[in-house]
């Protein structure tokens, strides 16, 4: 019935999906509040519209509303949602259920969470066509395998027999895109499908989406906060903020000449704003990590022979894909994970391996800020207690003195004093991260380890946090060990850059040296994978040899040879796989781990 309708319904001019005056409310502590405030949207067949905005903009809610669906704690209060002539707001649950999965399908942000861990991937692929009686189980599975094959998934015949946890994040996300196609729907909702991925992985997923949507002429709503990403996909963009429409236009127009200030801010947040490294006379080494090798339990070495020098007052950034050992490095420095070999010196003195062997003063001088402010703040403590504790613990401050210092700190992190009595649940993500910074500052540290401090934040907020960190460094002279997977962020804040790959240093040196040729092949891959704010970038990048060789591969920790050899476009056959790349240091103190000479790398970088 439905299948028939699909074939003869609607003319080209008639929109496939139409939303008029859509209003959605959400339940909060203060009762029902409007989170989508009268949105109109039109989507034709084969058209892709991008919904862009920061968190809380209501973009996912609108995306889901296109399926006639409101999450628990949300309700659609007004407006029309007409899909192919069917009014979804008045349609019965059963009618909507029959549309979902068959004519409108959904791709969630995190495939790892959205695939049911208890079932094999192909079974989940086949579930929709079988449940909706469109295909038999064997036919459905066959179709799945065919789709996997056409999407260049590795081992397409058998990958479907795996469980979700056995497949890497990027592949999983691509299989979710495939699953959305199981019944060849008219409309697919993409809900931030690449947000949680590394840049290199992001490219492969974007490629898959592109193949599916554009090549098969499916209409799509693409929800994201990343303009650069959506610029590669969408014909039109809707910029949203707090449930309101800010601007809607063709993608090209928005990128070129945004009409609203907010849109401009979004564009600016993605722009690279490189920090100029100031010269410091007689730089002093604050922290030196010497040939550290570390791992968990009886597992393999996650870090191998890593040596890093951090100068006082500088920012050293550690970059790499997930699994490269960045966070492990942070744990070794903080003492949470004693190193297997090697040592750490802090202010010229050896720092004990284990946390509980460190003296209070040593603990005080090294502070850490971590990735997820949500779980870094005790939900039962007020800001006063959170910031106040290090003050009383390390500095013995009490009463008025402490209160005053807390206020100073709040001022430093640009939050009003009224925040002192708030609970973390009453703060936004950016505010929480500021509190984390204040807590670290309260200890009056010399070194702050920043572990992906901006990756959970919206771009504008992240930018503000980076500015804050930079300001604090300028004012207080604090040193940062800055861990990030985002090269833009690193470019914005770092003086020195360490590129980690599979637990080893691939390249390290001053930022200018690392981000300019000669490139280490891995650095080059990373740099080329960062989306650029222009249409057509994706196609270009996909055609580079780095992308061809480097994407769609997992990071593997190897004992011998160069771990990157498999993904390296200029790997020397037999040599790179077999023997460890030598460390080459230039006169400027720049270090490469590569079989190729600097000259060769320089030449290849021009390619």
């Amino acid at each position: 019935m439905l299948v028939d309708m699909k074939d003869n319904s609607g003319s080209e001019s008639e929109p496939l999906l139409q939303m008029k005056g859509l209003r959605i409310e959400g339940l909060s502590e203060n009762g029902w509040q409007e989170i989508v405030c009268g949105i109109d949207l039109q989507l034709k067949r084969g058209e892709i519209i991008g919904l862009i905005g920061e968190s809380g903009a209501g973009k996912s809610t609108i995306g889901l509303a296109a399926m006639g669906y409101a999450r628990d704690g949300c309700r659609i209060t007004e407006g029309d949602i007409i899909f192919d002539g069917i009014e979804l707001r008045t349609a019965s649950e059963e009618e909507k259920r029959k549309l979902r999965g068959t004519r409108i399908s959904y791709v969630a942000q995190s495939a790892a969470a959205a695939f049911n861990p208890a079932h094999r991937l192909l079974e989940q692929f086949a579930e929709v066509p079988v449940a909706h009686k469109i295909l038999s189980l064997s036919k459905a599975k066959e179709k799945g395998r065919a789709l996997y094959r056409s999407l260049d998934l590795p081992d397409p015949e058998n990958i479907g027999e795996r469980w979700p946890h056995q497949v890497s994040g990027g592949q999983l996300q691509r299989m979710m895109v495939a699953m959305a196609m199981s019944c060849e729907p008219d409309l697919i909702i993409f809900d931030e499908p690449t947000t949680a991925l590394d840049v290199t992985t992001q490219i492969e997923v974007l490629k898959t989406i592109k193949e599916i949507v554009i090549d098969r002429n499916v209409a799509a709503i693409y929800v994201t906060h990343d303009l650069a990403v959506v610029a590669q996909m969408a014909d039109h963009l809707m910029v949203l903020r707090h449930g309101n429409l800010i601007e809607v236009n063709s993608t090209g127009q928005i990128l070129k000449s945004p009409k609203q200030e907010y849109t401009q801010n979004l564009l600016d947040a993605r722009s690279r704003n490189e920090k100029i490294t100031a010269q410091i006379p007689n730089p002093k080494t604050l922290l030196s990590i010497e040939s550290v090798t570390a791992g968990y339990g009886k597992g393999p070495d996650i870090l191998q022979d890593v040596s890093i020098l951090v100068e006082k007052g500088r920012t050293v950034a550690v970059v790499g894909e997930s699994g490269s050992g960045k966070s492990t490095l942070a744990r070794v420095v903080t003492g949470l994970l004693p190193a297997r070999f090697g040592g750490i010196h802090f202010r010229g003195e050896p720092l004990p391996d284990k946390l509980n062997h460190r003296e209070k003063q040593q603990l005080q001088k090294v502070q850490m800020i971590s990735q997820l402010p949500d779980i870094a703040l005790n939900p039962r403590q007020r800001v006063r207690d959170i910031i106040g504790r290090p003050l009383s613990f390390y500095l013995g401050l009490k009463g008025k003195e402490k209160e005053q210092r807390i206020n100073e700190l709040l001022q430093q992190i640009e939050l009003p004093q009224s925040f002192i009595d708030r609970l973390p649940s009453e703060l936004s993500g950016g505010e929480k991260q500021r509190i984390c910074i204040a807590r670290a500052l309260a200890a009056e540290p010399e070194l702050i380890i920043c572990d992906e401090v901006t990756s959970a934040l919206d771009s504008i907020v992240a930018k503000a946090i980076l500015n804050l960190l930079q300001r604090l460094q300028n004012e207080l002279g604090v040193t940062y060990l800055f861990i990030s997977h985002d090269l833009d962020t690193v470019a914005n804040i770092a003086d020195q850059v360490v590129v980690l790959y599979a637990g080893r240093v691939a390249e390290q040196g001053s930022k200018s040296a690392v981000f300019q040729p000669p490139f280490h092949p891995y650095t080059r891959l990373l740099l080329s994978s960062v989306p650029e704010m222009r249409q057509g970038w994706l196609e270009e990048t996909l055609s580079t040899r780095e992308a061809k060789a480097g994407i769609a591969r997992e990071v593997k920790i190897t004992e011998q040879g160069c771990p990157f050899a498999e993904r390296c476009p200029i790997a020397i056959e037999d040599v790179c796989v077999a023997s460890r790349p030598p460390l080459q240091t230039t006169t400027s103190g720049h270090v490469y781990a590569c079989q190729h000479s600097i000259e060769v790398l320089l030449r290849e970088s021009q390619y």
Binding site: D72, G73, A376
Partner: protein
Amino acid sequence: MNNMFKTLSSAPLSAKFGMIVIFTYLVVAVFAPLIAPYGEREILGRAYELWSSEYPLGTDNLGRDMLSRLIYGARNTLGLTLTITVLAFLLGGILGMIAAALGGWVDQILSRIVDVFMAIPSLIFALLILSIFGTSMPYLIATIVVLDATRVFRIARATAMNVAVMDYVEVARLRGEKLGWVIRKEILPNITAPLLAEFGLRFCFVFLFISALSFLGLGIQPPTADWGSMVRDSSTLISYGDVTPLIPAGAIALLTVAVNFVVDWMLHRSSGLKDVS
């Protein structure tokens, strides 16, 4: 304070009912001597007198006023149960949090000890201990406390484990905080909701366990009125359809139901599930 009233008034009907019942019981327990028409052990009339204006619920097997016994029973039973439950939570809760916070061999040793205790049938364990040391109040309390502490340990450890992996606990440890502070300030406030719910359930189980012990003759010393013994003393009457034993049994059941209603509501609140549909 205002907040609390707001929360309470938003409670569903069942929870409100539960809170009213618990409150009533507490009032009765605290003011037992003022409320009860007769003394706890005063022998007034013949055995099993019928309900009358003089004895609103009749008399028990020794001719004591049933209503007065019931009221004093609230005091004794609730007091004892509360004491035991609180002690069990102190013991099991603290050890559970320590096990979770420290991990490693401390956790291993504590967990294995608890395993051993849990594998011994609790009634048998109680029988053994109470046979050895007699059923005096301290031993009765100690025995049930130990038994229940093992259960509390498990839940406290499990919930504390979830909290212990949180970044803010790591931050506290990085700061160099001592174990006591980590447990008291970082872990405990975040597991109070499940612990409170468990407290309600434990309270009921202790309550029923004391009744079971009373049934086996190992409960509270006479002539102290306790509901379990009151049920047992008149349980043979049930076979004749007499309602006498129903009264103390009903009192036990009503309180347990009430506590469970409140616990349900608290669990629902703490789970953060927004069930609107």
